[in-house]
C-alpha cells in the first residue's frame, strides 16, 4: 500500500513535497486537502500509517534526529505558570532583573549615539575576539578597585558572563566529568554546563557561604584532579544570598591547590554591597583563579557584556571556542560601554542603584519577619538580588507555585537551583525588581499561600497520610 507524505508549511498552506512511499496504509483524500490555516512557520507532516485513512500527525519532522543532550529540555508547566504571571496584577518575586530604569536613558542613548557618530568605523565593524583594548582597560580599572591587578591580555570580553560559562563548559567538560558547585547554585550555570553532560556535585552553604568541611569531604572522596573545576559565586550568592567569608576564601584556595582543581569565581553582584566591608575576590589572592565579571548589574544587561579573567593558556582555549561561537563580541555594545564608562558619572548611578536594592532588601526582610510562618528560615543578604527561604522539609514549593500565581505572586521553586531534585522545600525570592510596597504585598500573599499549604500538610500528617513532621527545618 501507499504512504503519502505531505509536508506543508502551516501558515502558507503550501505543499512543499508530496511523495509516495511504499508502506501499508493510505491517507483518505480528505486528509490530504491542503488549506491555509493560521500559524507561524511550524512544519506539520501527515504521515500515513496502517489502518484505513489514518495518518500520523507530526509537528516536528526532525524529531528523533536531535542530539541526545536535548532530551532533557522540555516545555514545563512551571514555565507556563510564569507566563500566567506576566499579568500586571501579579507581583514578581521571581526574576533577577536589574532596575534598568535607574540608568538615565539619555546618558545611555548619548553613549550609543556617540559610539556610532564618533567611532562608527569601530562600532559597526567586526572586532577582535578578545574584546576591545579600550573596554579591557576599563575592566582593568574596575578590577583594580576590588584588589585584582591585571594586564589587558589577562581579559577576554564575552557576551555576558553567561557566554563565559558556556565557553568554560565547552573547553573543560567531557560527558561524565565532575563539577563542584554550591548547592543551591545559579540556574544559568547549571543550564550552561549541563549541555556538556557533566556530573554536578553540590556542596551545601551556611550563612558564611560554601561549607569548607563538606567541600573537603567531597574532594577527599574524589581525590586529586577528581573534578574539572569548582564553580562558586562568593558574593551575595545566587540564589542563596550569602557571602563567602574571608577565612573560607583562603581555605577554598588551599583546597583548590591541594587537590589541583581550578576555581571559577562568578562575581556579578560584587559591587552591589549594602553594608559590611568589601571582601577581596578569590582572584585577588590567587592568579590561577578564573574570574567572571559582568556589566549587566553596573550598566545594563541589554548590552550583553561580561568578561573572563584567566591564566593565559585557559584564555587561549577560550578564544578558540569563542571564535567558533560568535567570531567576536558586539563591537557596538563594547564601544557604547566605553563611552558610558569614560564619559558619564556611572558611579553615581551604581550608588543610587545600590540604595534602591538595599531599600527593597529591607522591605523584603521586614515583610518576611512580619508575615511568614515561624517554621520558615531565610538568609539576610548584605548585597545582590536574592533571599533564599527554607521551609519545613515536607513542603514542596514547586507544587505551591500554581496557588501562588492564582493569588498574584511568583517565586522560583528551590529545586530549579539543584541538579538533583534537592531544594524542593526552598524558594528564591528576588527583591531587585519590585517596588518596596509591592514586595511587602507579595510577601503577604505568599504567606497566605504558605499558611494554607501548611494547614493542608498538617491535616495529612495528622491523619498519618504523610510521615510526621520530623523533617521540619
Amino acid at each position: 500500500m501507499l504512504l503519502y507524505r505531505l509536508t506543508f508549511r502551516v501558515n502558507e498552506g503550501l505543499i512543499i513535497r508530496t511523495k509516495d512511499v511504499r508502506e501499508e496504509g493510505i491517507i483518505s483524500p480528505a486528509t490530504s486537502t491542503p488549506r491555509p490555516i493560521g500559524g507561524r512557520g511550524l512544519f506539520v507532516s501527515y504521515i500515513g500509517v496502517r489502518a484505513m485513512g489514518t495518518s500520523r500527525v507530526v509537528f516536528d519532522k526532525l524529531q528523533g534526529r536531535y542530539a541526545r543532550r536535548m532530551d532533557e529540555m522540555r516545555s514545563s508547566a512551571v514555565r507556563d505558570l510564569f507566563a500566567a504571571a506576566s499579568r500586571p496584577d501579579v507581583i514578581s518575586l521571581s526574576g533577577g532583573m536589574p532596575e534598568v530604569s535607574r540608568v538615565p536613558a539619555h546618558t545611555a542613548a548619548d553613549a550609543a549615539y556617540k559610539a556610532v557618530a564618533h567611532q562608527g568605523a569601530r562600532a559597526l565593524q567586526y572586532g577582535g575576539s578578545e574584546g576591545s583594548i579600550e573596554l579591557r582597560s576599563i575592566i582593568i580599572e574596575l578590577m583594580a578597585e576590588t584588589g585584582v591587578r591585571l594586564k589587558t591580555d589577562d581579559i577576554v570580553v564575552t557576551a555576558g558572563a553567561q557566554q563565559a560559562l558556556d565557553l568554560l563548559g565547552k573547553i573543560f567538560l567531557d560527558p561524565g566529568d565532575v563539577v563542584i558547585a554550591e548547592g543551591p547554585t545559579y540556574l544559568g550555570a547549571l543550564q550552561a554546563f549541563s549541555a556538556y553532560e557533566p556530573e554536578i556535585r553540590c556542596v551545601p552553604m551556611d550563612d558564611c557561604g560554601m561549607r569548607m568541611d563538606l567541600l573537603e569531604a567531597e574532594l577527599r572522596a574524589l581525590g586529586p584532579r577528581g573534578a574539572k573545576f569548582i564553580y562558586t559565586i562568593p558574593n551575595f550568592q545566587n540564589p542563596g544570598g550569602v557571602t563567602l567569608a574571608a577565612d573560607r576564601r583562603r581555605r577554598l584556595l588551599e583546597l583548590s591547590r591541594e587537590y589541583d582543581i581550578p576555581i571559577i569565581e562568578d562575581d556579578p553582584y560584587g559591587r552591589l554591597r549594602f553594608e559590611g566591608g568589601h571582601i577581596k575576590p578569590l582572584r585577588a589572592l590567587d592568579p590561577e583563579v578564573i574570574y567572571l565579571g559582568t556589566f549587566s548589574k553596573i550598566f545594563a544587561p541589554g548590552l550583553r557584556l561580561g568578561w573572563v579573567v584567566a591564566p593565559h593558556p585557559v584564555l587561549a582555549k577560550l578564544l578558540i571556542a569563542k571564535q567558533a561561537a560568535d567570531l567576536c563580541g558586539s563591537a557596538f555594545a563594547q564601544t557604547t560601554a566605553e563611552v558610558y564608562f569614560r564619559g558619564t558619572r556611572w558611579r553615581k548611578v551604581v550608588q543610587a542603584l545600590t540604595r534602591v536594592y538595599a531599600e527593597r532588601r529591607d522591605a523584603m526582610l521586614a515583610a518576611l519577619s512580619e508575615h511568614f510562618p515561624k517554621e520558615a528560615r531565610w538568609t539576610c543578604p548584605e548585597g545582590g538580588f536574592f533571599v533564599w527561604v527554607e521551609l519545613p522539609a515536607f513542603l514542596d514549593t514547586g507544587v505551591m507555585l500554581a496557588e501562588a500565581v492564582e493569588r498574584g505572586v511568583t517565586f522560583v521553586p528551590g529545586d530549579s537551583f539543584f541538579p538533583d531534585g534537592r531544594g524542593r522545600n526552598c524558594m528564591r525570592l528576588a527583591f531587585c525588581y519590585a517596588e518596596p510596597e509591592r514586595i511587602e504585598e507579595g510577601i503577604r500573599r505568599l504567606a497566605e499561600v504558605l499558611e494554607d499549604r501548611l494547614e493542608l500538610y498538617r491535616a495529612f500528617m495528622a491523619a498519618g497520610a504523610l510521615p510526621a513532621e520530623e523533617g521540619a527545618a
Partner: protein, 321 residues
C-alpha cells in the same frame, strides 16, 4: 469587505494564559483573513468598559481554564448582551467541574472511570486524609489518576502507582484547585473527539488518537512538539469508531453544549469506552486537537473560526427578531 466586528477574548488570569494567548493570536489572524474587524482583548479590569464602548457584534472566546471556561465570562457576556462563541453558561459550568460532569455521565449511562472527589476543606476541616485507605474501594486498585477537579491542560495531573504516593499527588492537585479528584487509571488509547454543532445538529470530527511518549498526556506532552504522537483518525476499527463518535455526541448533548466541544475518552483493549471529560473551549494552538481533527476533513482553522463566529452572530440575529 465590511464584515462584523469580533472581539477575541484571550489571556486572562488563568494558569493557561499562555496557551490562550497562542490560541487567540491564531484566531485573530484567521478572523482578519476572513475580513472581520478584529478586536483582540486580554481579560482585564477594563474589559467591560471596552466592550461597552467598542460594541463588538460578537465575542470569540479563546480563553482556556478558569474565568474563560467555567461559565464566568459567558454569564458576563449574556448580561452585557454580547453574543459569544461556544457553549453557554450551564454547559460551561458542568463541563468545567469534572466530578460534577462525571456524576451526570454516570447517571445517564455514559461510561466514565470510577472516581472519588475530595475538597481541600474535607482534608483541612474534616480529616478526610484518614480515609485514603478507602479510596481503592471506590476506584479499584492502583494505578490511579489524581487531578484537580477543575483545571485545564492537565495541569496538576499525576499518575499514582502505589498508596504511598497518593498524598503527595493530592497535595499537588490541591495547589491547582480547591478539590482533588482521584480516578481509576484506564489503560488504552486516548482519544479526543471534537464535536461541531450547527443547524444540522451535532457532528463529530474524526477522533484524534493521542499517544504521549511519556505515557502520561501531561502539560509537557501537550505543548512540546515531538513529545506526543497523534493519529487522525484514531486507529480504531469501524465498530468502535462509530461507538466513540456516538458517545461523544451523547456527552455533547447531555451537557447541552452548542457550537463546539471536545470530548476526551479512553478506549480500552476490549473496545470499551471511558469518558474522562468534555472541554467547552478547545485549544486552537498549533498542537491543539480541534484544528488537527478539522484539518483531517479539509477544514482550515479559518473555516472552524468562521463556523463558530457565524453561530454566535446567528444567535444575536435570532434574539433581535
Amino acid at each position: 469587505m465590511n464584515k462584523e466586528k469580533i472581539a477575541v477574548l484571550m489571556g486572562g488570569r488563568s494558569l493557561e494564559r499562555e496557551v490562550s494567548l497562542k490560541s487567540g493570536e491564531r484566531v485573530c489572524q484567521a478572523l482578519e483573513d476572513l475580513g472581520y474587524k478584529v478586536l483582540p482583548l486580554d481579560l482585564s479590569p477594563t474589559l467591560v468598559q471596552t466592550l461597552r464602548s467598542e460594541r463588538p457584534d460578537a465575542c470569540y472566546i479563546a480563553l482556556h481554564g478558569r474565568y474563560g471556561e467555567d461559565g464566568a465570562i459567558q454569564e458576563l457576556l449574556e448580561f452585557l448582551g454580547v453574543p459569544y462563541t461556544g457553549p453557554g453558561v450551564v454547559s460551561s459550568v458542568l463541563a468545567w467541574d469534572k466530578p460534577l460532569a462525571k456524576r451526570l455521565f454516570a447517571e445517564h449511562g455514559i461510561p466514565t472511570p470510577a472516581w472519588v472527589n475530595l475538597t481541600a476543606d474535607a482534608f483541612k476541616q474534616m480529616g478526610a486524609a484518614s480515609a485514603l485507605d478507602l479510596v481503592v474501594e471506590s476506584t479499584g486498585p492502583f494505578p490511579l489518576a489524581v487531578k484537580p477537579a477543575k483545571q485545564g491542560s492537565a495541569l496538576g495531573l499525576t499518575r499514582v502507582d502505589s498508596a504511598d504516593r497518593l498524598a503527595e499527588a493530592l497535595l499537588t492537585a490541591l495547589s491547582y484547585d480547591d478539590a482533588a479528584m482521584i480516578e481509576k487509571w484506564v489503560e488504552g488509547r486516548m482519544v479526543a473527539v471534537s464535536v461541531f454543532d450547527g443547524p444540522e445538529g451535532p457532528q463529530p470530527l474524526p477522533p484524534v488518537e493521542i499517544s504521549p511518549k511519556s505515557g502520561v498526556f501531561d502539560f509537557a506532552s501537550m505543548y512540546t512538539a515531538g513529545e506526543t504522537d497523534y493519529f487522525v483518525p484514531a486507529r480504531l476499527d469501524e465498530a468502535v469508531m462509530s461507538e466513540v463518535k456516538k458517545c461523544a455526541i451523547a456527552v455533547h448533548t447531555l451537557l447541552e453544549c452548542r457550537d463546539v466541544s471536545r470530548v476526551d475518552m479512553i478506549v480500552d483493549s476490549a473496545g470499551g469506552l471511558h469518558v474522562l471529560e468534555c472541554n467547552t473551549s478547545p485549544g486552537m494552538t498549533e498542537t491543539s486537537l480541534l484544528p488537527m481533527a478539522a484539518q483531517a476533513v479539509g477544514l482550515s482553522l479559518a473555516d472552524v473560526v468562521e463556523k463558530l463566529v457565524s453561530s454566535a452572530l446567528a444567535r444575536s440575529a435570532g434574539k433581535n427578531q
